[in-house]
């Protein structure tokens, strides 16, 4: 479950990872907790744009426990802009792949589509799915890069 913390922005992990890991030691893993962590990571990425780094840095500096308390370094707007086309491409391509698969399955079920027709349709679904996944990974990489 702690591996999900890798989804959070780098600045966030610098600041909160240690204490979140300590918290997760007390919480049993469950799909609900995992979904909450994933949602939290998404919000952290989106919210980073609104974060005022200088305020957070100042708050971090007042921790006064002798440990380094780096401020939250937000996702820069240019990074969001850069990631946006990849995100959109991923959504469109994966939707097309899903639609293609649904059509194929419906064809098999309702019209007894022959095996010869399944190959090309499945190939088309893959043709959308693979670049869709790649685009999604690129978007995540852009967002998570320091």
């Amino acid at each position: 479950m702690k591996s999900l913390l890798r989804l959070y922005p780098a600045g966030w992990r610098d600041r909160y990872r240690e204490e979140m890991e300590a918290l997760l030691d007390y919480i049993p893993a469950s799909p609900k907790v995992m979904a909450d962590l994933i949602r939290g990571a998404l919000v952290a990425h989106l919210d980073g744009e609104q974060t005022q780094p200088e305020v957070v840095a100042a708050v971090g500096a007042t921790a006064g426990d002798g440990r380094a308390r780096p401020g939250h370094s937000p996702v820069r707007p240019y990074r969001l802009l850069l990631a946006l086309p990849f995100l959109l491409a991923a959504i469109v391509l994966l939707s097309l792949a899903g639609a293609q698969t649904a059509l194929m399955l419906e064809g098999v079920e309702r019209f007894g589509l022959e095996r010869t027709a399944i190959g090309p349709m499945g190939g088309r679904a893959l043709m959308y799915a693979v670049p869709g996944v790649v685009a999604g990974l690129v978007a995540l990489f852009v967002l998570r890069r320091r």
Binding site: E19, A22, L23, Y26, A44, D47, V59, A63, G64, D65
Partner: protein, 98 residues
């Protein structure tokens, strides 16, 4: 106006009594509000409150980082409670006059 079960409001309410770390805040909120915050929700709210200067981290002996309410946090909580109280007063008044 924030909702009474808004995570930020619940955290501010929890920290009025004492300094607490994440897990203690989570347990306290569950005990007084019956709401179990997930870790992502809890730390999202803690980050926003800290960013806005409503809470601050205090020295910690271990990995568990305690937080305390700041003066601004006390004022923000008072303002939220006053807004809730106004809603309750209005609702009670309307119930009484039915």
């Amino acid at each position: 106006m924030e909702a009474p079960n808004d995570p930020g409001t619940l955290i501010l309410a929890s920290l009025t009594a004492d300094t607490r770390h994440g897990h203690a805040i989570m347990q306290d909120i569950e005990s007084f509000a019956g709401v179990r915050l997930g870790p992502g929700t809890l730390y999202g709210a803690l980050q926003r409150l800290e960013r806005d200067g409503l809470i601050e981290a205090v020295p910690a002996a271990d990995r568990r980082q305690p937080y305390r309410l700041t003066e601004a946090g006390s004022k923000a909580l008072s303002a939220r409670l006053e807004a809730f109280a106004a809603v309750i007063r209005t609702a009670e008044h309307r119930l009484d006059t039915r």
